[in-house]
Symmetry: C2
Subunit: 870 residues, 2 copies
Amino acid sequence: MAKHVYDFKEGNKDMKALLGGKGANLAEMTNIGLPVPQGFTITTEACNAYYDKDQALWPELIDEIFAHMTELEKVTGKTYGGTPPLLVSVRSGSMFSMPGMMDTILNLGMNDATIPVLIEESNNKRFVLDAYRRFIQMFGEVVKGIDKKKFDLVFDRVKEDKGYKLDTELEAQDLEIIVEGFKEVYKENVGVDFPQDPRVQLLESVEAVFASWNNNRAIVYRKENKIPHNLGTGVNIQSMVFGNMGDDCGTGVAFTRDPATGQAQLFGEFLMNAQGEDVVAGIRTPMQIEEMKRINDHLYHDFANVCEILENHYRDMQDIEFTIEKGVLYILQTRSGKRTAQAALKIAIDMVDEGLIDKNEALLRIAPEQIDQLLHPAFDKKALAEATVISQGLNASPGAASGQIYFNAEDAVKAAEEGIEAILVREETSPEDLEGMIKAVGILTAKGGRTSHAAVVARGMGKCCVAGCEAIHVEEDKKIFTHSGKVYKEGDFISLDGSTGFVYEGVIETTAPTLDKDFETLMSWADEVAKLRVRTNADTPQDAAQAISFGARGIGLTRTEHMFFEGERISAVRQMIVAQNEEDRVKALDKILPYQQDDFEGIFEVMKGLPVTIRLLDPPLHEFLPQRDKDIENLAKEMGIGFEDLKSRVVALNEVNPMLGHRGCRLAISYPEIAAMQTRAIIQAALEVTKRGIPVMPEIMVPLVGTKAELDYLEEVVRGVADKLIEEAGVELKYSYGTMIEVPRGTLTADKIAEGAEFFSFGTNDLTQMTYGFSRDDAAGFINEYLEKGIFKVDPFVSIDPEGVGALMKIAVEKGRKTRPDIGLGICGEHGGDPDSVKFCHSLGLDYVSCSPFRVPIARLAAAHAVLEE
Amino acid sequence: MAKHVYDFKEGNKDMKALLGGKGANLAEMTNIGLPVPQGFTITTEACNAYYDKDQALWPELIDEIFAHMTELEKVTGKTYGGTPPLLVSVRSGSMFSMPGMMDTILNLGMNDATIPVLIEESNNKRFVLDAYRRFIQMFGEVVKGIDKKKFDLVFDRVKEDKGYKLDTELEAQDLEIIVEGFKEVYKENVGVDFPQDPRVQLLESVEAVFASWNNNRAIVYRKENKIPHNLGTGVNIQSMVFGNMGDDCGTGVAFTRDPATGQAQLFGEFLMNAQGEDVVAGIRTPMQIEEMKRINDHLYHDFANVCEILENHYRDMQDIEFTIEKGVLYILQTRSGKRTAQAALKIAIDMVDEGLIDKNEALLRIAPEQIDQLLHPAFDKKALAEATVISQGLNASPGAASGQIYFNAEDAVKAAEEGIEAILVREETSPEDLEGMIKAVGILTAKGGRTSHAAVVARGMGKCCVAGCEAIHVEEDKKIFTHSGKVYKEGDFISLDGSTGFVYEGVIETTAPTLDKDFETLMSWADEVAKLRVRTNADTPQDAAQAISFGARGIGLTRTEHMFFEGERISAVRQMIVAQNEEDRVKALDKILPYQQDDFEGIFEVMKGLPVTIRLLDPPLHEFLPQRDKDIENLAKEMGIGFEDLKSRVVALNEVNPMLGHRGCRLAISYPEIAAMQTRAIIQAALEVTKRGIPVMPEIMVPLVGTKAELDYLEEVVRGVADKLIEEAGVELKYSYGTMIEVPRGTLTADKIAEGAEFFSFGTNDLTQMTYGFSRDDAAGFINEYLEKGIFKVDPFVSIDPEGVGALMKIAVEKGRKTRPDIGLGICGEHGGDPDSVKFCHSLGLDYVSCSPFRVPIARLAAAHAVLEE
């Protein structure tokens, strides 16, 4: 028969899976000699067995529980239900912390027979009766599901009858009435008397804790935090200590370092003559931990000593719950404390300096996602607490922004030029909105997911964005949005929190990020460990410089199409698109050439010889033309062509499924002159920069290749132009020719494609779209539904799906390397900045990941974690 | 050094790849002792070497050619360019027959020096001069690209000067003038004199034939017929025999059986005192082969004997070209004759009866695609009786067609692209008309026999053709034809009956074809051999019945959405879509239920216990709503809801990429009540039909599954409804639950999906879309471009791409079978009716293919071929 119950002295901190976090740490503390009220833990395995047995306790378990209770009676010298009475608490505790999600019952062992003994023993009738009424209520609510209001009604009636304002005014005799009243409430609702048998109290409480593993809020919490549903909870039965027995009693919570800043000093709060729940509930304002010195210097030093022991033992900042009963300190819980990113960073670095942990452990102490917080401004916490929420969308790009709302790019640009902090609000954004997005301080869209245009571009810029906020109704024409009947019009102030997705009314104060020496230190440690290099996706010298400052080792993706929208060049691009023949098209392309060359020169100069992967034009041409008749008319006038001619070109270019349409290399195959112009711009820029004495390493990348013949066809165009230019210039210049792998067929035929490609860059956005058959533009709604219904554990556009998309990537890596062992392998999809995806890429043995500049440090740390977690 | 030239006696019929079909068969006939004018063949390898060497002949080849010419001089006892003069023809001949696509030059060896000798030898000055002027013209046109009209001008001027109407009226001295005129035309256009050196004549002609391998019409023909472009053509140099030397001369073409019906009797046409081109060009109307008996009984028997030898030797119906020179029979070519599907079928069955071939060979004699012709409609007899006959021509290629008339290929192509059923009307067709013939639904010519270009090509395509309809007067320039004074102009409707040769006014209703005993016999042989079963895609009892009559063994796909559009139910469907909550949606679904149940009862009754796979609702909901404001307004009125409400629902449902949007199982997961209603309809129908004593085997299929959890989620819905209904009914009813595999991720995780799916049905349409990233709605344009540029060899929507889509299918088959060895495996995409795809499915070891009813026999035959070709 399996052992299902462990005395605290039988366990240790490494038994979290079996005993839960709380139980394992209580055991550990017991064994290192700290003052822990004694007790025992029922294992998580027992919890799972309980579910397997149709939710009933079984005789062997019951016997085992009471055998340990007998042992506890021996240790404490008290008797459960006897004299002196042993009182116990029953607390949940699972492998991963789920604060407040499951149930706790205190003061078991109290009944009408033990009350007089306890009164006599404590010489505090009021305290004992208060504890009894709390027990009856807690047991009634937690075990029997009685509505809290029913107890409150009794409680408040007594207070009212007496004319009391505060609970503390209640006297012992009042509490006697309340105890009787609570017993009546219990009987009315449950049908039987409140159980006087402490064995019944215990077993029903254990069952209630088991059952709370699967209450709704626990399930939601586990989903939210990616905790498996089959772990089960442990149950801790521990002898009670009381912080509310008098003025030599108290209770508190403390961190061994400051969880907000990481400063190496005790940080915590306590209340004298109070129960733990009083601290947490915030009913009374607690004292800072330093005040304990004043109240009881000896106790403070005892406590500080315990804290030091615990931190040194656990080699991490601890979050400690303690109680003082009649001047004696008891430790009720310890665990690694949650902390801000800033604190996490400082603590990790400090602990290495202190010799507590090594560099690798320091790296593992910081979740890559946390780094994000260090790079963006955040709302001031206090101001945030008072702000009015309008709605919540998707946390598409982190950061915080307050500003005035504008409903189209033009207006936002105009406002920004007048010095207004503009927030661009759109149904959804398109490349035409780019300039407005650049000038805005934040972006809010009603549609689109975390990988929508708005989200991708905003993240690229490190700009705050809330996307897919479906509860707001945007009317771009009227320049308003409405929510719950309230209208927000142009110029109104709102605030966006891109880290949470919340949208607020008005302006909220922000705090700026600071990247200090600790950050640089940690990143340098990460780079020492990591095998994956981290590049960036950058379309401008500014982005490139930003990424370099964050430690990018090259550019993995330069999207040339974004450049097409800027300034005057869009007009040449449009001429190119409406050209009736190759000659006119080449003329228009000749106008674009100098702009493109200039773009590339700027980027090459910043990158100083680091590799720069430039993707040939990718999006369908209709993205460069207006869609509405009015805009078409204006453009036709501007271009000096007929409305009907332009309109018919727009209509001809429209597609039913543009994502699967005439784009990527398909465009270049139809119009090789576009690829030729882009190659010319790249190579001329590279030659120019080389002549200035700056090394250049261009990589020309063909998008959307599914068939080797596509790559071959364009190789003639690209190498034809490039090799001729290099030869004519007589300059030593190397470039490479490769392809995106983003079409499933590209992965399946990667062995053949590798014959022509010197490198592969996985475009996991498109690969995910096609592998799942999900359009990023349309899927946000049903992906959310999938997450809610448990069909998906994680959005595949957020984290690479290893079974499907990942399987194709693996095929491509293997086939590619088989043909060309030294083939360059990277990823430039949005996933490049997602820590789980970075780890997956490491497991595939890629050379690099590429992500938006603000994700570079996250990816660097994730790359190090990938090695350390192997 | 490779041997590049073979004397006829050095080759045999199995050397087609090297010598071309014509050359190989000339060699074969030589070796079995048939009267073949001797000669030699330059190999296809030489042709390819010619292209490798930048299209120039090289000294070794030239030497080899003339060495064989010397040998030929020995055999014939004549001298090339000397006395007695050896005249030769130079003819193309590739591995696969490409009739009329490449070039031929006759009468080489004629020059000013040999003419007098030939005149003396033949004692027929007129004949010799006629041959000379033909040679100059042919050489000028073919080798030097001189416009035919320039020669015609000279020729017609002489005729006019003399007041002649017919060419036969020209006398020797007239021809002398023409020869001189032609030489002048030549010199004017080429810049030098017509070459008198027979070596130059030969080498330039050989080069011209090589070059003709890559002329435009040859390339188009190869694409149409899926002939590889890298085979090259052989060149046959053969001593001339003349059918136009006098009345004891003649020339003709014959088939050893009737190529239209398959009747086992000689079928052919000949002309006395004529060259072969006269028969083919249809300038004079030839005599039937039987008339030869009357003219020269002995010759007829000689010829019939040769035909029998050849057919027995080749064990196939032969298409033979012959010439009679001064009463002596020569065989110029034999090849397996092209035939109508009906003839192919009859000949194959007859030859098995005759013991010439076995059943398997009979099956292989019929290309699966040919079967299509047997299934083509004929005119409704009643409608036909009332139709107005315009005229009657030759029944050149069977079938029935109604359409609008166009007078040149270009106009016909344009019309066809606009969706018009075009009938191409020509004086006579030439290879240049090929594209027009492909696009037209039928072909009508005023001139030419059953072996004319129009007739041969049309039969090859299984396209209806009436040829030699001499009573109509075609004026191609004016785009009209006239008959008995009535004018038929471009765009007028006519109907053609290719089986009778009748031409009718207007459009005539057609009826389905009836299939005879031979067809049933062949199909039963196919089924004996085939391993794949063939099912059908059918949404109605009518389609199902049609497919059953074609031998379908079940339904592989019933699309429920087509049913949603019918009659009144569309209104309930729309109510369901605009429903604001589940309750309203269920109300609307309740209205649809009886219709759906009725649909399924009808289908189950027809299928009598054969498996019926029913796919749950697949398309995005917006497909059921109107898109234009006006239509939305009408519908809103009809439904009694506000325009804005309906419009906003339409807008909300619109998607950027509907193909990758909210459809398939994603719909059913959002609205499980839809799947529940459909399941109810299926199971209630099955129970009802079972109660009538008819067995039922329903298979419920979930579309667009990419993740096992999707299938699991819906399994609860489907089995929940189904099992309850069956239990309540107390009837024994089995059904199965499975899924489409049409999303790449579905293939990659097929092992997991197979845990929940009893069968997989490959949806290769969507799988192709997602594997390539091609939207079928948008890709037609660039796929054509890919085909033209040689990037694709075949459209992947026509034939399964084995490397990409096929690789995913293979993964799914292996993974699916690993989890569930007896899993049902089929395919229901359009590819199910494509012979190459059927063979691929066989190679994967699928259980069945499913295709549209009219493709069922094609798939059955292809399935047999798959086994026989293994």
